[in-house]
């Protein structure tokens, strides 16, 4: 995943609470390899009706949704399962940031591992953005700001998350430097608590 520092793009409103990961990608799509592209699975069962026809009113199906890259939603976005495929679906559909008052914890760390910013804003700020959306926004990771069309909001970002997003890193890149400390810890732990180790099968 290439890193990024500043992103400008169209922001879409998804004025829903508790958009859980089962909504973001229904389980039946998750056996596909990533190379298949997950963008088409995003919010599948909200975008299509039970006959498989597009719901024209759904925000992602409106004409202005084409090319959108920022999503604005209500509280507890990405709650539920640990499925990283929920993030793949957003990223593959072209999203770089989601703005909401709160996020599922696992979803947030999955997002950052895939170059997607979970930007937490106060509920009033989110309501203001929802009101104004769709709109063009600029998201700046260094400044911690979301601006555009008369809107200006600040968000907090964990410094490590910023580092990972800016460089497009995942944790394996960051851990390599600590090999020695890890093996020393493992040796001590195994000596003190041998019952934690299983015989290899």
């Amino acid at each position: 995943m290439p890193g990024w520092t500043r992103h400008e793009g169209r922001a879409l409103p998804l004025p829903l609470e508790n958009v859980d990961t089962d909504q973001l990608i229904p389980a039946r799509f998750m056996s596909a390899p990533r190379s298949a592209g997950y963008g088409g699975f995003l919010l599948h069962d909200l975008r299509y009706d039970s006959e498989g026809a597009l719901r024209p009113d759904f925000p992602l199906n409106r004409p202005e949704a084409a090319g959108a890259s920022v999503l604005i939603a209500r509280r507890n976005f990405g709650g539920g399962s640990s499925r990283e495929a929920a993030v793949y679906a957003l990223v593959d559909a072209g999203f770089r940031a989601v703005i909401a008052p709160s996020f599922g914890d696992i979803f947030s760390s999955n997002a950052v591992n895939n170059g997607l910013l979970p930007a937490r804003l106060p509920a009033e700020a989110v309501e203001a953005l929802l009101e104004a959306a769709p709109l063009e926004l600029a998201v700046d990771l260094d400044a911690g700001t979301i601006t555009g069309e008369g809107q200006a909001h600040r968000f907090e970002l964990d410094p490590v998350w910023r580092l990972k997003l800016v460089n497009g890193w995942d944790d394996i890149d960051l851990t390599a430097a600590h090999d020695e400390a890890i093996s020393a810890f493992a040796t001590r732990r195994r000596a003190a608590r041998p019952w934690l180790w299983l015989a290899t099968p």
């Binding site: 508790n18 229904p26 056996s31 640990s82 990283e84 964990d158 410094p159 490590v160 934690l196 290899t200």
Partner: protein, 468 residues
Amino acid sequence: MNGPLTLFDRLWSAHEILRRDDGASLLWVDRHYVHEGSHHAFARLAARGMALAHPALTVGVADHYVPTRGREAADADIARMIRTLEDNATARGFRLFGQHDPRQGIVHVVGPEQGLTLPGMLVVCGDSHTATHGALGAYAFGIGATEVAHVLATQTIWQRKPRRMGLSVEGRTGPAGGANDIPLNSIARLGADGGRGHAIEYAGAAVRALSVEGRLTLCNLSIEGGARSGLIAPDETLLNWLRGRPFAPDGAAWDRAAAEWLTLASDRDAAFDREEGLDAAESAPGVTWGTSPEDALPITGTLPDPERAATASDAARIRAALDYMGLRAGQRLEDVAVDQIFIGSCTNARIEDLRSAAAVLSGRRARVPGLVSPGSALVKAQAEQEGLDRIFVAAGLEWAGSGCSMCVGMNGDIVPPGNRCASTTNRNFRGRQGPGSRTHLMSPAMAAAAAVTGRLADVRPLLSGRDV
């Protein structure tokens, strides 16, 4: 660390390899469970050309995609998912409880059952209900695929220390709802994101009085309240349950381990970042009515009215949930007819859960069809030895094999569109049990009551005079 500590502090510092300047810690992972859904992580590892750091600390379990009705997978895609896990286990050299292993089951049932999860461990799995294992006094949490790849490659994980919440449950749980009603109650009160950023330690008389199986149910549902982990301090009840399990230590090692485990507790004057209390007596049998676990009510309740919601967004959410669920504002829960029931999942498919459902169903007929899927093949064998399978079948329910089954529908066990299912699972999200499915969460006894009456029903009258 000085000063009084919480159990969580103790577990955290025992696993902390180092802490970076920015406050993130690198933690050692004692036990890493993988399942068919971990295929993205194995693919990432392969793409980087990396090996497993400690195959002996990795355990695979086939559960999400395994067939539970007959041995054949529903389609080629599903069969491929199961085979990929087997291939990875062989190539990477880790232990696997595969589809045909007599100890196969749902990862969060099998791990504790086999003594693969032990007190004092740090346990992770690419599945949010890993919180379940916290019932054994372990720090256990679910992770995403990138993190799974990281654990496979390094046996460690980066975490920022969560805040500590103490949730004290006093009083006594009723025999009917048991452990399932405590979290339904607390999630309804604190919200589906109320526990976000917290590790919850459950304590209090009602928690102490729970069996280990009840504690597993309680910790399992931590994630539905937004908490990534829940835990309970080890005690004699736990030691008695663990002793003699296949992968638990024995002899002198057991004595040493057990002595250490009993020291895993919060100091009496330890401070939590947040403390909440709950009275178990409030925990009348609960059911959910909407599409988030926070939409829970006592079975005696009536459906909320969006007109009376506190905010416009609450009103919109309630309206959307009622609409999806095919329900009316003000309707009595007990008047809601169900189309089918499901008893299973890592929340409620252990032997005690099956016993409590059987206690209701014994000598009765179900008015609606239903599926019963034990949490593991060993639970299934035990249930059959006790004759519980005959009670389910005599009631007209289907007795299936073990796996995630209708909890998530990945193996093809789904609730048809528009059908209403009384379910002992953990998520009532839209479409969770299949596209268009409508899920009401409840305890196994309550699901049995729904089977017998054909609607959402208070199980308590059905139990009067019965030995439970």
